[in-house]
Symmetry: C2
Subunit: 201 residues, 2 copies
């Protein structure tokens, strides 16, 4: 399996985490986001969205981090990390959706704006408010639950972890969210959970 | 199965479509979005996000349209509308993700802004540009393919249909996208595909 990653991309980090937890080996292809390699014609043939990560495994080619998580979990993780029964799969999907909207389009786009001045969808205030609304849903779920879905670690946790962890860099402090802070620690304590790659300053 | 719908909500419409195609009966509970029922304490206990649709089926309670589509498809549609094999499920998930980000946070949030002056994430220009980037991905995929995933109709098509169809109301005309227009027609021609409910003027 070949994975095209941005060295410090949060969406690539999600796949690093799952592969580490499942001890699945992969070949990493580094995509030079700083020099716009993800916008090149060659890369757009891999992923028309122009984003990392991309997964290739024999005939299978996938873009989007949630799709790649689902593939790796179903292929290598049995029913544990992404079950196939209607209620289980749907419960996991619910959190993948929150990760794609409130956390990605809210927190991550706010973070990119704050750190790099690139505003995909609008101003800081609205993106942060949208991100905070997602964190409220996480905090509520974690009242009385240790994990987001199915009362065990699944790809739901991995998908939501990346941009919840970096919320403070988006200008959204996590101090009002003690349950999220405890859940981030629980995730990090899972065997082989890798720390996120930090950009060189 | 009980489904909480907004009468003209696009995300509720996605579930109407799948239930119609699969001839799955359900009890509809109308949520009065105009008078803010989705922000009431009672509704927030059903869905902490404060949005329709919500699904209840015995012990199962789900929010998020993609999660509900997955549940109904896996429960009532065998492997046809949402398969469980790694590559098939991941390919479907890829389009559910596009529906949640570029189409929902781009096209639908632009449409809500244009029609009702409510800007969830920022200005018209950026939301429309984000939406257009999603349409480009759809248009590219439909070059040489009749359906978004697996070369057959799946919940990927249903998830993307709703806010692609209403792109013009978001200020994003579909004339430059002949393959999307033809695909919308193919979707509408599936047996029992219901027209979207149109708001009273």
């Amino acid at each position: 399996m070949k994975l095209y990653f941005g060295p410090v991309s949060g969406n690539s980090y999600k796949l690093r985490v799952l592969c580490a937890l499942l001890a699945v080996p992969f070949e990493e292809v580094a995509v030079d986001l700083e020099h716009g390699e993800h916008r090149s014609a060659a890369f757009l043939r891999l992923n028309p969205r122009g984003e990392v990560p991309v997964l290739e495994d024999g005939e299978v080619r996938l873009w989007d981090s949630a799709a790649c998580l689902v593939y790796i979990a179903r292929r290598h993780g049995g029913e544990t990390w992404c079950p196939a029964d209607p209620a289980g799969l749907a419960e996991v999907t619910q959190w993948l959706a929150l990760a794609a909207t409130e956390l990605q389009c809210g927190l991550q786009y706010a973070r990119r704006g704050v750190l790099r001045g690139r505003w995909t969808l609008g101003d800081a205030e609205r993106a942060q408010a949208f991100g905070r609304s997602g964190l409220r849903v996480l905090e509520g779920r974690l009242e009385g639950h240790r994990w987001l879905a199915l009362d065990r670690p699944t790809i739901a946790d991995i998908a939501c972890f990346a941009y919840a962890e970096t919320a403070p860099e988006a200008g959204v402090p996590l101090d009002p969210c003690p349950r999220i802070l405890a859940w981030l620690e629980r995730c990090r304590a899972l065997p082989r959970w890798p720390a996120r790659p930090v950009p060189r300053r």
